[in-house]
Symmetry: C2
Subunit: 435 residues, 2 copies
């Protein structure tokens, strides 16, 4: 793999520091063995035995690296490395839970890259001015317990930990019971740990960097997201005997909405995206006009007003389709997050650092939700994206080339060094180097 040229514009000795990619890859591989599934993927749903095993391994690595570990009420784990001064840490991290057919990079990279940064600093006996911390947050995926980003949302005080702990899975198990069962029901109250700054390295989970041949994404924020479940109610009838003019076809209504949702996104342009990922017809038989349909609509935009506009357009479309076909169409919100804009200075820092390391870099929003989007509520936050091959994610074929993993982790290292070493005057402070 090609190393980036030594960065010219970073003038401290630390600017030459590089992570050990083989060590990072080894940890990624070891963690991916836990809950491994066919095709190279991983299934470590939150708070399962596999999640516990993954947590135990990561915590053991944290201990080996000398980090001080805290576990909060929701099982969020923070490993902290002391700085020259006390106070809130500069934090990195992500999550290690996966979806049922997940890949090995989503979340895991951000946590293990953090550990790799710590290992690199330890190796070179570098102490930062401010404490550094690596965190992994509980149930980011939301694949087993609602909502997603549960841990980081509670960590940042946005979600009540009592509500999160009481959340029930389909089989009746609660978050609280599962945390206790796997030994990660901590005592530190959620929302009690201040953070000086937060940076998360993550695979893009989309095709943009690869398509444009760009090495690093400097993430400007997280798209706002509106998830709705629509219920279409029509009249079931015989597909052969019911003239077209007398139909109230819920299946047609659902399909017409899905097509309208596509038109909505194309008409709005910009970074508006809109997806109908699930359609279910009742009774779902070849020769019966559907009496009912359920479909989901996922709308995202980086701009709060535009997201609202998309929602309003959908509502207008639904009303028009309902009136034309004689249907009842109702909507229920499944989840809604306002767009998050990261702090401009933090975005600048990622962009500048990546460029200084010789990488091509693109400012871009994140289309997916991330823990960073939650932590942004309490600390200046940034994200670093590295390319996802074919844009695949939540898929056993998720893949990011080792060179890109290395590039991203080196950017993370240099960004964290700057954030943790900054003096009040904003000048990079050379830290203690091994004599």
């Amino acid at each position: 793999m090609t190393r980036a040229a030594s960065p010219a514009s970073l003038t401290t000795p630390l600017a030459d520091l590089q992570i050990n990619c083989d060590r990072l890859l080894h940890r990624l591989d070891q963690l991916a063995q836990i809950g491994a599934i066919a095709g190279g993927g991983v299934c470590r749903l939150a708070l399962t035995d596999e999640d516990k095993a993954g947590r135990d391994v990561v915590v053991s690595w944290m201990r080996e690296l000398g980090l001080t570990i805290t576990v909060d009420q929701l099982g969020n784990v923070v490993g902290t490395r002391a700085g020259l001064v006390a106070g809130p840490p500069v934090m990195t991290g992500s999550h290690i839970d996966t979806v049922a057919t997940g890949g090995r990079y989503d979340g895991n990279l951000g946590v293990l890259a953090g550990l790799e940064v710590i290992a690199t600093l330890n190796e070179h006996h570098i102490q930062t001015r401010y404490p550094l911390a690596v965190a992994f947050f509980t149930n980011e995926e939301g694949a087993r317990f609602h909502p997603d980003m549960m841990g980081s949302w509670a960590f940042s005080g946005g979600l009540s930990s009592d509500a999160a702990l009481a959340e029930v899975e389909t089989d009746g198990t609660t978050v609280a019971a599962e945390l206790t069962r796997i030994g990660y029901a901590g005592t530190v109250p959620c929302g009690s740990q201040p953070v000086k700054a937060f940076v998360e390295l993550h695979v893009e989970q989309g095709p943009v960097l690869e398509q444009e041949g760009v090495q690093i994404g400097a993430v400007t924020g997280v798209q706002g997201m509106s998830w709705q479940e629509l219920t279409v109610t029509g009249v079931s009838n015989h597909a052969g005997t019911t003239p077209m003019s007398l139909r109230h076809d819920a299946g047609y209504g659902a399909s017409a909405i899905a097509v309208a949702v596509r038109e909505l996104a194309l008409a709005m342009g910009g970074n508006q995206v809109a997806t109908v990922g699930s359609i279910q017809l009742q009774p779902g038989l070849v020769n019966v006009i559907a009496k009912a349909a359920k479909l989901t609509v996922d709308l995202r935009n980086t701009d709060s007003a535009l997201l609202k506009q998309a929602e309003a357009t959908l509502q207008t479309q639904m009303a028009a389709i309902a009136a034309a076909e004689g249907l009842e169409i109702t909507a229920q919100s499944l989840a809604r997050f306002e767009p998050v804009s990261f702090a401009p200075k933090m975005i600048d820092c990622v962009e500048r650092t990546a460029k200084a390391l010789g990488f091509s870099v693109k400012r871009m929003p994140s289309g997916a939700g991330h823990d960073a989007g939650m932590i942004a509520a309490i600390a200046p936050t940034a994200m670093i994206f590295v390319p996802s091959v074919n844009g695949l994610s939540h898929n056993v074929k998720e893949y990011t080339a080792p060179e890109d993993l290395e590039n991203g982790t080196n950017v993370l290292l240099q960004v964290l060094l700057q954030l943790a070493s900054l003096s009040k005057a904003g000048v990079i402070q050379p830290s203690l180097k091994d004599e």
Copy 2:
């Protein structure tokens, strides 16, 4: 209930004959007790214990009415009443199997109305010139074994009885094994029983008669039917991170086809109908662009050339949608029946008789498949429709008012009398009346 005025244009004494509606309703009610389900519906799937119990009751009624019973290799049951002359019978009948959430009239009415005609003739000691027969055919619904109209298709020699007997249900059971198990594996070869003429009374299963306030439908034929399952293959990806321009969304493809199918039917007009009753997306998650979709398309037309045109238009639409979204779309035929046109003289007979009895009557195609559509291959055939409230069928709420049941059965009686009494000169022959 209002009796129709005594028909003026039927000049024989038989023209005053009327069926006993209470007796018909009583039999309908008794049969509906077998396999009764909540809401007033019936579940008597073909060749189940419930079907056996229903068959046993109907056969016992046939015996009580003095009919000579034959059971063929596929379990089709024919009860015959001798005529003045020997030879092929004038036949009526239908089926007594139901779908899983069926009503009490679909099929059952045609069989029990036939028995009511026999009972009326017995009561009045009327013997027809030609034999009269009442049949019920095996597995008309196709809800348990493929294909539908299995029994009547084999009875008319169109379907190999060996193939039908070997048909396997999802649990591995065959038609042959189930026929033996319930005691209806007869010995009469399928395709060996000639029929002089066939008339089937059936509920419309559609809304047209009720909407137009018409009492009797004189069915002109059975719509041709083309059932296809389409498979759409796209690329699964993240709903947030994948720009609209880079999507290959199988869910959108399926929806666009469903909307195009509607447009196809509206553009063709006439009696073209088109339905997408089932859509399934994979993986079917709110935030994942579907990688695959399956949907069914049901196309029907009374005209063979127009049905082919509809299929060709669908294929063109599929190709256009596949090209625009970068999808692969393939089609598999699930079933296909050419349109059936009933004999003009038979349609005339139903129309003329209904009018003579004082009923309003409409010539109309059948949108649903029926046993009569199969028997039409070997005998002059007609069908009589009576209104279905709200057009509901294959539904526990299926309902036809007693008055309409009575009207239809009286039309059936008079039509059968004409067909079974006709001399070679085409004049209605007064049959033997009770002295």
